[in-house]
């Protein structure tokens, strides 16, 4: 009897100890996690401050004169701004390009991925090898020729410079092919015997089962496009065409030291991706694992 109690007591203290250690480590890791988001908190706090308060020392995390005016100025709500930064237009441009490219890239990748995985056409393997080889070529190699090509075609100064290459992704094609490879051949064969053609098989059988993978791809494509900086910088020469990343850099040059405005603009730029990410966390992570390198 006594030994049982002792044993239980021993086990319980060990359990408590374990819980205590776990709580302690959670706190430490939470602090690490918290330092990771400090830049965001700092940005958020500065975006609600009046200009004079931003550079105040020591740093005041909760604004003394809390004001939404910075956002109003950035977005030119109620024509309140001293000048129009056309931030809303850039926002619209970014969303437009991101969504066109998202639908385009998912469609072309799902089609080509299916063909590479499930249709045994002549020259398939050679072509696929060619695709894989291009994944090793850095974007910067093709940037200059693309710029030259687009200038020659008079496309510099249109969004087609980002859309035409953007609706094609080798990484996405690879991702979808990998997915279709796992689908058993029988599924296709039985539909084939029932008289369905390749297009019907793709549209009615393959696309429905591939939806989770398509969602993953859609999310990484959105992320790539929303954050695409270098190409936008090179190809978009006019404020009417600017996307958010370029618009932000332009914004800094125009406002120079109005950090509260810059912070409000930056915070506005981050929101869509956070929303998309939180909404589809699982798909997002899966997609990012497959498409670590943009292409």
């Amino acid at each position: 009897m006594e030994t049982v109690v002792k044993k239980n007591y021993h086990r319980n203290t060990q359990k408590y100890k374990k819980t205590l250690v776990k709580i302690l480590i959670t706190i430490i890791v939470a602090i690490v996690g918290f330092t990771m988001i400090i830049p965001f908190l700092w940005m958020l706090s500065a975006s609600f401050k009046i200009s004079a308060e931003v550079m105040e020392l020591p740093i005041r995390w909760i604004p003394k004169h809390f004001t939404p005016n910075n956002y109003k100025a950035v977005w030119n709500i109620g024509k309140s701004a001293a000048r129009d930064y056309h931030f809303g237009l850039s926002y619209f441009n970014s969303l437009k390009i991101a969504f066109i490219n998202l639908f385009g890239a998912v469609l072309t990748s799902t089609m080509a991925g299916y063909a590479f995985a499930k249709i045994n056409f002549k020259g398939r393997n050679i072509l696929f090898l060619g695709y894989l080889a291009t994944m090793m070529i850095p974007q910067q190699v093709t940037l200059i020729p693309k710029f030259v090509m687009f200038s020659k075609l008079n496309l510099i100064g249109t969004h087609l410079t980002l859309i035409l290459p953007g609706i094609i992704t080798v990484t996405g094609t690879f991702l979808m092919r990998q997915y279709f490879m796992q689908i058993p051949e029988e599924l296709k064969e039985s539909a084939y015997i029932d008289g369905a053609n390749e297009f019907q098989i793709w549209a009615r059988i393959m696309v429905p089962v591939a939806k989770p993978s398509m969602a993953s791809l859609a999310m990484i494509v959105f992320l790539w496009n929303w954050n695409n900086y270098q190409e936008a910088l090179v190809f978009l020469a006019d404020w009417r065409l600017y996307t958010i990343p370029v618009s932000l850099t332009n914004f800094i040059e125009e406002t120079s030291t109005q950090y509260n405005l810059i912070m409000a603009a930056s915070a506005s730029a981050l929101i869509p991706v956070f929303v998309v990410f939180l909404a589809g966390q699982k798909f997002f992570v899966k997609g990012l694992m497959a498409g670590a390198v943009k292409g």
Partner: protein, 295 residues
């Protein structure tokens, strides 16, 4: 006329990949060839199309006596290696600790992940301000008793490390996510057996977790190395390669040569040096994968 099944298959296959293939040919294959061609010329964009002379390997020879190129190459390698080593060590420890000893795993991982999905321009802006003389970094260093805090981005010695710190901060979340999904697939019975044998947490970490995760580490080393070799936006936004050439990297110098100085031939040649760098990394991956991965 009735087509044979084989002919139908070929037709279906090419119909499915056609949109994708046209895009890849136009925006990847042709640009690659074009880039290779102009890298052997002295083409200046301002002189117009076709107005170039063949110079053979001159560009590939000249770059080695170009101080900016050599410095940029060195900085790129230092940048990539330091980022990879620190990102992966921190991420591995965090991933294991979060998985084994933490409550509220998901919110913590989400917090770590936020920087990775954030718009690079917005993030760079925030960090420029954090590094400013009135920002939290300078404040922190001052509090630690340093009278003359470094000027971070404006400092010869600190400019590159400052960007490196930001990049590590931005990449940890991704590596933690990838490690986490690998950790969840680890064989539990092996750990239980080790516990029976009296192995402590530290021992289990080094004797089991690290070797078990070596394929994941390898994947992360390669992907992080490749994306670090291509770093551009933070440098362009935060330091413009300065002061001097202290933080210039390859892609930034390529961008400058092509789109500020319009030396297209010279810039293309440099982009092929970048390709060779990435090619070496990929080849090492192919060859060493079997040897390095230790189970």
């Amino acid at each position: 006329m009735k087509l044979s099944r084989k002919a139908k298959r070929n037709m279906a296959g090419y119909t499915f990949i056609l949109p994708n293939l046209i895009g890849v040919i136009l925006f990847t294959f042709i640009p690659i060839v074009y880039s290779l061609i102009i890298s052997f010329t002295n083409w200046d964009f301002t002189k117009g199309f076709g107005n170039w002379n063949w110079v053979g390997f001159k560009n590939f020879v000249d770059i080695w006596s170009d101080k900016w190129f050599v410095d940029s190459l060195k900085n790129t390698i230092v940048f990539a290696v330091v980022v990879v080593v620190f990102t992966l060590i921190i991420a591995l420890v965090l991933a294991v600790v979060i998985d084994r000893f933490c409550y509220a795993k998901t919110p913590i991982r989400l917090a770590l992940f936020m920087p990775y999905i954030s718009n690079v321009v917005a993030v760079a802006i925030v960090w420029v301000m954090m590094y400013s003389s009135w920002g939290p970094f300078t404040q922190m260093v001052k509090k630690l008793g340093v009278d003359n805090p470094p000027q971070w981005l404006g400092d010869y010695k600190w400019s590159l490390p400052s960007v490196i710190i930001m990049t590590i901060w931005g990449g940890i979340g991704y590596a933690v996510m990838i490690y986490t999904s690998a950790i969840q697939g680890l064989p539990r019975d092996v750990y239980e057996a080790a516990e029976v044998d009296g192995a402590g947490e530290i021992r289990k970490f080094f004797a089991l977790t690290v070797p078990f995760l070596s394929p994941t580490t390898f994947f992360l080393v390669v992907t992080t190395l490749i994306s670090s070799f291509q770093v551009f936006a933070p440098i362009q936004l935060m330091t413009r390669g300065g002061p001097g050439s202290s933080s210039s990297v390859l892609v930034y110098y390529i961008y400058q040569s092509a789109f500020s100085f319009y030396k297209m031939g010279y810039a293309s040649a440099m982009s092929w040096i970048l390709f060779i760098l990435l090619f070496i990394v990929t080849m090492i991956q192919w060859k060493q994968q079997k040897k390095w991965v230790s189970y």
